[in-house]
């Protein structure tokens, strides 16, 4: 057969997937997930240190900057089980920030920050703004050159893990051009960050008020690569969200199957009723489609055109499939499903978060239409 391989999965990826699956299962039982929701900073710092020590923060960072020089295909194998077990850490935020630096950072910026991120320093990106528009190419936030610095203005939203991040990479308009700037958290006034009430309570995100803030001129990322960099960031975010969602579908399937196999109504296990059984099969086939598209996207990510198509397909399919599986999870738990105590809501909230960050299914299908039709 001369057909091109659409999914490549290396021995290293297989090992990482197994290790990460076991790790997340151990570290993130559902009681722990609920306990973390109630405490700050929303994750276990010891776990994050272990994740750094395992080298997972540097997987897709070149060895020259303290990473292991693998790729996002390996990162996916870690993000997926994290999603399955609802393990919340700044892993995703920091990974995306590192990719942003690699895509558009200057040599000095990369040398200064990437080794620290690999070692466990938290970083994040700030692209979204109060109007909620997914398209990041035309930021409303502004930067203006004043003397040696850049005076910033405007508001960013959904800045993940901003309170624990040492570094925030924000998109702004400078001289009418979309640009990216580094903001060191140490330079932020106390009032700059305001905690948001996010639908997914396992996450921490903030609004970031840039008004009155000035950063040094060398905080600007390479202007020539800012626009492609912003596109790249969104693709990385979509890939990681798709991975997280695939894990989430598998997780919520487990929760629902457990209930359908133990709960009795009218003297029968409710999983024997076809009205519940058949939609569970739909959820399963949705999971399979999502995972196949995910690992294909992980395979071809670096190829610009095929990569974008594959990532958007993966994000679209996983968004729809996770929405379906978690929506039915609530319904199939009956009265219990309506309570906060039922774990179905944890996954439904996660699914909503993931679906509406970086574009829902219809949004990506519209962009795919431009690529494919």
């Amino acid at each position: 057969m001369t057909e091109i391989q659409q999914i490549k999965f290396s021995e290293e990826q297989a090992q990482l997937l197994e290790i990460a699956s076991n790790y997340c299962r151990d570290k993130s039982p559902i009681a722990e997930v609920r306990a973390r929701i109630e405490t700050e900073p929303g994750y276990d710092p010891a776990v994050y240190e272990e994740i750094a020590a395992l080298g997972w923060l540097g997987i897709a960072v070149p060895e020259a900057f303290g990473g292991s020089g693998l790729g996002l295909g390996e990162v996916v194998t870690i993000a997926e089980p994290m999603g399955r077990h609802l393990l919340a850490t700044p892993f995703q935020s920091t990974t995306v920030a590192a990719q942003a630096l690699l895509a558009a950072g200057t040599d000095a910026q990369k040398a200064a920050w990437l080794p620290r991120l690999c070692e466990g320093t938290v970083a994040t990106v700030a692209l979204t703004e109060p109007d909620g528009d997914w398209h990041p190419a035309d930021p409303g936030c502004r930067a203006e050159r004043i003397g040696d610095g850049l005076a910033l203005a405007g508001t960013k939203t959904f800045v993940g893990d901003a309170e624990t991040a040492a570094l925030i990479i924000a998109s702004v308009a400078l001289d009418g051009q979309p640009s990216l700037v580094l903001i060191e958290a140490s330079s932020l006034p106390e009032t700059a960050l305001q905690r948001e009430v996010a639908i997914d309570e396992t996450r921490r995100s903030c609004r970031l008020n840039l008004d009155g803030l000035t950063v040094p001129a060398d905080s600007l990322l390479d202007p020539a690569r800012a626009e492609t960099g912003m596109h790249h960031i969104q693709m990385v975010q979509c890939l990681l969200l798709a991975a997280e969602m695939c894990g989430g579908i598998a997780g919520v399937l487990d929760v629902t199957l457990e209930y359908l196999n133990t709960r009795k109504q009218f003297d029968r296990f409710i999983g024997s009723y076809q009205s519940l059984k058949h939609p569970m099969v739909d959820a399963l086939t949705g999971l399979e489609a999502s995972r196949s598209l995910l690992y294909h996207a992980a395979t071809v990510f670096a190829d610009d055109e095929a990569g974008e198509t594959a990532v958007r397909m993966a994000k679209a399919q996983a968004s729809d499939s996770f929405a379906f599986a978690s929506d039915r999870a609530i319904q199939f738990h009956g009265g219990f499903g309506f309570t906060y105590d039922c774990d179905a809501q944890l996954y439904r909230r996660r699914a909503l978060w993931c679906e509406y960050q970086q574009g829902d299914a219809a949004y990506h299908r519209r962009h795919l239409a431009e690529l494919l039709l």
């Binding site: 999914i7 196999n261 058949h278 196949s292 519209r366």
Partner: protein, 401 residues
């Protein structure tokens, strides 16, 4: 016998050129999509001639032994020829049951005489074959077959009927599963397998009209039909094992088929082409935002189906439920094809209400017929509803309904 990549590529170009050059002209009537839908004599003769032409050109049965009419070449070459036929979407090889099920079975376990008698005539489409497994009262439950074969000296006398016999009206032979011993220890042990001639007294083929309005399936009645014991395949009482072996060829689990594609390709790209041609509000339908959204959704699903097949073979990516993709594949594919065909109708405006035979029916009514025919896969081989029970119970571990 090995063949280098370079030789394969050269052969691929040669085969592609031959199929492009010799692709038969449009016959002026709609061709069937698979051997199950051959409903008219015109279709039959057209497809029989085409298969014969492909065989004579050397692109069919390439890896079968030369002693019986095959090409005696490496399997890799046949695979390439089959890929090119599929890719170029030339008419399919109609004698599917002979080429892919009965033929490899005969080569695998038949006598020398059977091989010399049957194999070449399968390849050149001289003898068309059909299958007599299903019975009216036992759809998918082959083990319960009731058609009786009573021994009478050197002969067996057949009574009963078989259903869904595609190509039955045009077939010279049938692979037949019959009950020779109703008193056997278990229902499987009472079965025997025959290569049964169709042109003998007491065999009557009655066409079944499908919801498409066409013919293609048949019910075959046996009334005191008498066949010689040399028609036995395997020993008397071993019919179940031979039938199971046949199924491994049918499902492609075992190699050795003659090659050639057995159905026409219809996929989302064909529907996309239709969407470019169809009109809506004075513009191509493909410019309608809702059509675009649905079209992309079908492309995503089609991609996922293809990727599923690849991922199913990557063990670390299916550790949770290794049976999930293979067991749900028929459900997913058949329902996809049904919805895709239905979507194709929705692109045609008022013309969606035409049917085959009307001059204004788009693509000769291919999509209307395709939608109806798509039910053969959502129903045949276990309905989608039964499939969901099976997947729910065996893959997800849910209690029986």
């Amino acid at each position: 016998m090995t063949v280098t990549d370079k030789e394969l590529e050269a052969f691929r170009r040669e085969a592609a050129a031959w199929f492009e050059e010799n692709r038969p002209p449009d016959p002026g009537f709609l061709l069937p999509e698979s051997f199950m839908e051959v409903g008219s004599d015109d279709q039959f003769h057209f497809l029989r001639d085409w298969q014969n032409q492909v065989y004579e050109a050397g692109y069919l049965g390439m890896a079968w032994p030369t002693a019986y009419g095959g090409g005696g070449k490496p399997q890799a070459l046949q695979d390439v020829a089959t890929e090119e036929m599929t890719r170029l979407n030339v008419p399919f090889m109609m004698n599917t049951i002979g080429l892919n099920w009965a033929g490899p079975l005969i080569l695998n376990m038949g006598t020398e005489e059977q091989k010399r008698t049957y194999i070449k005539r399968i390849l050149n489409a001289e003898d068309i074959w059909c299958q007599g497994f299903s019975e009216p009262d036992h759809g998918s439950d082959l083990g319960s077959a009731q058609l009786r074969a009573v021994r009478d000296g050197e002969h067996f006398v057949l009574n009963g009927s078989k259903i869904w016999t595609s190509l039955g009206a045009h077939s010279k032979f049938m692979i037949l599963l019959a009950r020779t011993n109703p008193a056997a220890n278990n229902k499987y042990a009472g079965l025997s397998y025959f290569l049964c001639p169709m042109d003998i007294p007491g065999v009557e083929v009655v066409p079944i009209r499908k919801l498409t309005g066409e013919y293609g399936f048949n019910q075959t009645f046996f009334t005191d039909a008498c066949i010689h014991e040399s028609c036995l395949m395997g020993k008397e009482g071993e019919g179940w094992q031979v039938a199971m072996k046949t199924l491994t060829f049918e499902r492609g689990a075992t190699g050795g088929q003659a090659g050639g594609h057995s159905r026409m390709k219809t996929d989302a790209a064909d529907v996309l082409d239709l969407a470019r041609r169809a009109k809506r509000d004075g513009k191509p339908a493909i410019e309608d935002p809702l059509v675009r959204d649905q079209m992309v959704q079908f492309l995503i699903e089609q991609k996922a189906i293809a990727l599923n097949a690849e991922r199913a073979g990557i063990a670390p990516l299916v550790v949770d439920r290794p049976a999930s993709i293979p067991m749900s594949a028929k459900l997913v594919r058949s329902e996809f094809q049904r919805r895709l065909n239905k979507f194709a109708l929705s692109l045609q405006g008022a013309n969606a209400a035409y049917y085959m035979g009307d001059a204004l029916a788009i693509d000769g009514g291919r999509w209307q017929r395709g939608y109806f025919n798509s039910f053969s896969a959502t129903i045949g081989g276990g309905t989608s509803q039964i499939q969901k029970n099976i997947v729910g119970e065996r893959v997800l571990g849910l209690p029986k309904s």
